[in-house]
């Protein structure tokens, strides 16, 4: 009986962890950040999707667009794939590998940690990235459809 209770407890605990994990991946609010130089302060969702898909090579001032993303197996990376690209992580990796192989886009830079991504965006003119939230003063937060978070 004791073991039975323990098993039920473990099962419920495991299930709650799984559910909360799945919810947290889907419910993460994303913030789009950009290097203060070149990257516009505001764009709509269609423009953002186009930029992050590598369809725009240069910003209006001529600086090259540099895409910075969290790796697709991180919670932020997974949410970015779902919310912005409407793809799975696997689809996104295939999408960029195929386009780089065709010579039609420059490969995005993928990061393991948010601090590395922030630092890259802060130091690289034309860089745009996606993360959960940012407090770095050197980075511009880009409004998407007028909102700070998507």
């Amino acid at each position: 009986m004791k073991y039975m209770k323990l098993m039920i407890y473990n099962f419920v605990f495991g299930l709650s962890l799984l559910v909360s994990g799945a919810l947290s991946a889907q419910d993460l609010e994303l913030t789009v950040i950009g290097n203060p130089q070149s990257v516009p302060s505001e764009m709509n969702m269609n423009q953002l999707q186009s930029v992050l898909k590598g369809e725009k090579f240069r910003w209006d001032d001529g600086s090259p667009v540099r895409i910075a993303l969290m790796k697709t197996n991180t919670p932020i990376g997974t949410t970015t794939c779902n919310k912005i690209y409407n793809m799975t992580g696997n689809e996104l990796n295939k999408y960029f590998l195929a386009l780089v192989f065709q010579g039609k886009v420059k490969a995005p830079t993928f990061f393991n940690s948010v601090s590395e991504l922030e630092s890259y965006v802060a130091q690289t003119p034309g860089a745009i990235g996606v993360l959960q939230n940012s407090t770095d003063d050197q980075i511009k937060i880009i409004l998407v459809d007028g909102k700070k978070q998507i």
Partner: protein, 338 residues
């Protein structure tokens, strides 16, 4: 003395290695590769075979210039080592304004979607091998020359590519004649994952030129008109292309051929895609430039995408050729990216 010498060599090697690493990181150079292994049943026996090993390098030289190289190692029975190394693409890209670029080098001719998209990466191919119009030598797969390219322009995501090259019969390092090939390709992407395109190719192939291992015995004026519809949706996949070829020589006049294929697939689950492909090659009776061999082929297969870097395909193909009759083939392939 030897000890000092050894330490000095170690130090120099370390510094060279360190500098090389910095150089590579600063340039953002990436090396990727593709390979595949096949197993197939033919003439009543099971065969195993290795495919091409494709090494692919990209490098950003600065904000405007980048490099792309693709080198293939493949089986070649006539080589002393039974293997050949071939440079499939070397492209120096100058992004001169917005989404417009100047490309110079050896390209895959942007004559159709398949040739411009999949190159030698079997892991990307929706089927095990290319459509039959490639093996028939119907289209110029490579062009060495210069191109102006624009991508994702305007709301329809219009794209263009105008290429001038050495043309058919030329060598890797120089042209064999004074005639240049011209390729003009356009496409639009009115919806996500959907593309419509068309292209025109014009070339004059000189007498004595060697094309696809055959010596051309009379000057040929060639025009190719190609149309493409491509849709790779979340569930449904469709790719169909047709090339209408006109070849003209003084002795035979103008002859026409039509070469096409249609691929369709449906994603049942995230990783499973059953598919079909039909190929249709029809030559005019007087065709002299291509090897006239009217062909109809039907292929049914199943693709299992373990991940974007590992794909297994199984196929049955039935081919009916005018010259060699009917054949069928069971084929399985594992294609990887690394």
């Amino acid at each position: 003395m030897d000890k000092i010498k050894k330490r000095l060599i170690f130090l120099i090697s370390f510094l060279v290695w360190l500098n090389f690493n910095n150089y590579v990181i600063a340039q953002k150079t990436q090396i990727k590769g593709f390979a595949n292994v096949n197993a197939f049943v033919q003439d009543g026996k099971l065969n195993f075979g290795i495919g091409e090993q494709d090494l692919f390098i990209t490098s950003e030289l600065n904000d405007d210039f980048s490099f792309l190289g693709e080198t293939v190692f493949k089986y070649s029975p006539n080589s002393p080592t039974h293997f050949n190394v071939s440079i499939e693409r070397i492209i120096i890209n100058y992004n001169f304004k917005g989404n417009h670029s100047l490309l110079i080098g050896k390209h895959h001719t942007p004559i159709n979607y398949w040739n411009d998209t999949y190159h030698h990466g079997r892991v990307f191919f929706p089927t095990i091998d290319r459509p039959l119009l490639f093996a028939a030598g119907a289209i110029p797969i490579h062009t060495t020359g210069i191109a102006v390219q624009g991508l994702n322009l305007g709301k329809l995501k219009f794209g263009y590519n105008v290429m001038i090259g050495n043309g058919l019969g030329s060598y890797e390092v120089m042209d064999n004649d004074k005639y240049k090939s011209v390729t003009a390709a356009v496409h639009i992407k009115p919806h996500d994952r959907f593309q419509i395109g068309a292209s025109f190719y014009n070339d004059i192939i000189s007498e004595g030129a060697e094309v696809n291992g055959r010596v051309i015995d009379e000057k040929v004026n060639q025009q190719l008109y190609t149309a493409t519809i491509a849709h790779f949706g979340k569930k449904f996949e469709l790719l169909t292309e047709g090339t209408f070829a006109s070849n003209r020589a003084n002795s035979t006049g103008m002859v026409h051929s039509f070469l096409s294929y249609l691929y369709a697939g449906y994603r049942l689950k995230e990783k499973w895609v059953p598919y079909i492909r039909m190929d249709y090659l029809k030559y005019q009776e007087e065709e002299f430039y291509y090897e006239k061999d009217d062909t109809t082929s039907f292929l049914a297969g199943l693709r299992y995408e373990i991940s974007y870097l590992i794909v297994v395909k199984m196929e049955y193909q039935y081919i009916d050729r005018e010259e060699s009759g009917q054949t069928s083939l069971f084929n399985t392939q594992i294609a990887i990216g690394f």
